[in-house]
Symmetry: C2
Subunit: 172 residues, 2 copies
């Protein structure tokens, strides 16, 4: 009875979403892919939005950039301390963009080239093929780009993220 | 038997997360609050990270701005077409920042003032009191701020988002 109560209590804390579509990209494995959207200028991908959600795409094509929120479906397990791609030192997971997060949620700002029916054609993609999409938001510089004055351990390194590729470190 | 199979199949598509902490703010209802983080300069909030995740906060304090991803826990139902706060016309939900999304996921870039143990002190908050937090990422202009050239239906309006307050339209 106690186990049942604990099971139900645990279930009650769950926050449950469903995929609204699938992201297709040239990146079939977690190795050797760009670590951020700026990493592969010109590398294109497509997002197929499930038909039941396609009405929600109306007027999105007017925006040059969109925010994708997606489920890091191949991320296995989480670590609270990681050595990220850009450094040789360990950092708390929330101060990194590593995929091994308690909730494996990915975020990318990408260029939207066009929409044909329920297919979005996007550019500068850093997302694995087959990734389930959770949400799309229009990117709005006035609210999404604050004046940043501190970049923590990434100070002097973040511009190099544009050309950095992943390696095997987050495969396990 | 068919119902059981359908139930299990449905369950298999679910993507399940758990809250890593709770956001506290002065905004107790969905009305009369800023619609975006820039909307209330100086309005402060606190995030209490559950102790089992506090190790993940190491080195986060070095960043002046962070991305919060959270569950819009008071959003009731979704609509694929909405009339957003900034307009009188209907738009597809994915071309807006309205809370009535298929997956009620919220995103804000906020200023991080300091961290004390597992409490984050943040500024310019647009989030309801009691909101469950899903993820924190460091905000990195080099990857998070592209050069935007098209703002769709928000063209010429987005700077006004900074001062706009919510009304009752998303209460149902």
């Amino acid at each position: 009875m106690l186990f049942l109560a604990l099971f139900i209590l645990n279930f009650m804390n769950d926050i449950t979403y469903q995929s609204i579509g699938i992201i297709n990209s040239p990146f079939k494995t977690k190795e050797d892919m760009p670590i951020q959207p700026t990493g592969d200028k010109g590398i294109n991908g497509e997002i197929k939005i499930y038909s039941e959600f396609s009405e929600g795409l109306v007027d999105l094509e007017g925006f040059s950039h969109i925010i994708l929120i997606y489920h890091l479906h191949l991320s296995t397990g989480s670590s609270l301390k990681v050595i990220p791609f850009m450094d040789n030192n360990s950092h708390g997971i929330f101060s990194t963009r590593s995929p091994k997060r308690p909730n494996p949620i990915g975020l990318s700002v990408v260029k939207l080239n066009k929409i044909e029916k329920n297919i979005l054609f996007i550019e500068n993609i850093d997302i694995l093929d087959g990734t389930p999409l959770l949400d799309i938001k229009p990117f709005i510089p006035d609210v999404d780009c604050p004046n940043v004055d501190k970049l923590g351990w990434l100070e002097g390194k973040s511009d190099k993220m544009k050309n950095k590729k992943s390696d095997k470190r987050f495969n396990e």
